[in-house]
């Protein structure tokens, strides 16, 4: 089954999109600002004869000329984290401040949680939650290696998450990087679409709606909630936003990105969505030579 063919009506330069999906991804790491600067990491890689090139849009995102960045001194010191380039996006869109109370509702394996912690200068309370016990050890070990001291890791269902017994009563900001069908990871995992089905889309979309709605409810008015997935399906993206816009007190806000992207779609297979979902951004693999991604920013209103 050619899953990606269903997106031909909504993707400009569709052939370039399909070609890009066939190419492997570059090896990219993110510099952990809690422990190191990009300059120091570049110096260390070059001393080890590993080529490094920096990305214009983010000073801490480095392409490295090794398939095993985990076997280097910078990794052993917790200076870097192996993270696909486009997955560094949602934390920068949320851009939390030091001292804030921040929820990462689906945090495992910790790439974005540790990036949020770094953006908070590792100060404040970052609740890094995941309902999947099997992935929790990866979340904890990544946060530990990266020296994160502002995170409380929890193992609860994001759909009925509560701040009980955490010593806080709400959040200033939240990230919902939702579990999804992962279509956009096809360059990293060529078998990502093997078990794709419309039934799964419908099932996972229900979970996504529940987690996003709960994150909005837990965030104080004026606070922002970023929703992201690594999938192309409007059922898991704009349809989820449309649902939460009608169910919870929030509005979509525009996002300024220096990466190429396309606007959210307002019509899909006979459905129409709230016109403001156009403010979400779709990032396709042919745009910036990355994986596929979806990202939207909501503001909680009183």
């Amino acid at each position: 089954m050619d899953v990606l063919a269903r997106y031909e009506p909504i993707i400009e330069e569709y052939d370039a999109f399909r070609d890009a999906c066939e190419r492997p991804l570059p090896n990219v790491v993110r510099v952990n600002a809690i422990k190191a600067t990009p300059e120091r990491v570049v110096t260390a890689f070059e001393a080890a004869d590993i080529g490094v090139s920096r990305r214009d849009w983010h000073p801490g995102v480095l392409e490295v000329d090794t398939a095993k960045p985990g076997n280097t001194w910078p990794y052993a010191h917790g200076w870097i984290h192996g993270q696909e380039e486009v997955s560094a996006l949602p934390a920068t869109v949320l851009d939390p401040d030091p001292g804030e109370r921040v929820l990462d509702a689906c945090a495992a394996p910790g790439s974005k949680a540790s990036q949020l912690a770094a953006l908070m200068d590792d100060t404040g309370t970052l609740v890094a939650n995941d309902d999947n016990l099997g992935r929790l050890s990866a979340l904890r070990s990544n946060c530990d290696r990266l020296g994160v001291t502002c995170a409380a890791v929890t193992n609860r269902d994001g759909r009925d998450f509560s701040t009980d017994r955490l010593g806080i009563d709400g959040f200033d900001a939240a990230l919902v990087d939702a579990p999804c069908s992962c279509e956009g990871t096809i360059r990293k995992n060529p078998d990502a679409l093997d078990n794709w089905s419309e039934g799964y889309l419908s099932h996972v979309a229900g979970t996504q709606k529940g987690i996003l709605k709960r994150a909005v409810e837990l965030t104080d008015p004026g606070g922002e909630v970023v929703y992201s997935t690594c999938t192309f399906a409007p059922e898991e993206n704009e349809a989820v936003l449309d649902h939460v816009l009608s169910e919870a007190d929030c509005e979509l806000r525009p996002i300024e990105l220096s990466l190429d992207s396309a606007p959210g779609v307002t019509e899909w297979q006979g459905e129409t969505y709230d016109p403001s979902v156009e403010r979400a951004r779709r990032i396709y693999p042919h745009h910036n030579d990355t994986g596929g991604f979806f990202c939207a920013k909501l503001e909680v209103v009183a």
């Binding site: 001291t149 502002c150 995170a151 409380a152 929890t154």
Partner: protein, 167 residues
């Protein structure tokens, strides 16, 4: 005096006089230990609160919230207490070790690689025996790698298995 409830995070008392959980060290004692053993300035821990979960595992959290907290982890596990010799963790050595001035052993590159690989090596050291912070030079400056146990002329690597690497 209450028994330690190892299933949740309890904040350590400010001083020994305010202790209400049996055997739990105070914030003052924890900071004093880092200062006396490793020369880490007390200001390094300003803004951090210390918590105990399990029997003797101490965590540093970079915020202050009411105790107790029920979570899988809270900040970074920084040391092991409730034993004769308190032991810093690898994560604490990396996160706070740059501020250390005493009981720091600096390795050359071959010894640093052996240490990271989890190997024990005979190394000359004139200072105290016991737990040392281990550093090497990288990118033009010294950087802590982890914790070693120095005994009888030998530095024993305490890098946890999952963190060991053969470079």
């Amino acid at each position: 005096m209450r028994e330690n409830d190892g299933s949740r995070f309890g904040k350590v008392p400010p001083t020994a006089a305010e202790r209400d959980v049996d055997g739990r060290p105070s914030r003052a004692e924890i900071i004093e230990w880092w200062t006396e053993r490793f020369g880490v300035a007390p200001e390094t821990f300003a803004g951090f609160t210390f918590w105990e979960k399990g029997a003797g595992k101490i965590w540093a959290f970079h915020d202050d919230v009411p105790s107790p907290v029920e979570a899988e982890s809270l900040g970074l596990a920084v040391m092991r207490v409730r034993q004769e010799h308190w032991k810093p963790t690898t994560d604490a050595a990396q996160r706070f070790g740059a501020a250390a001035t005493e009981n720091v052993i600096h390795l050359d590159e071959p010894d640093a690689r052996a240490f990271l690989a989890g190997e024990d090596r005979e190394i000359d050291w004139d200072g105290d025996w016991g737990y040392l912070l281990v550093t090497h030079d990288i990118a033009g400056a010294s950087e802590p790698i982890g914790v070693g146990l120095y005994l009888h002329g030998e530095l024993r690597s305490r890098v946890p298995k999952g963190r060991q690497r053969t470079l």
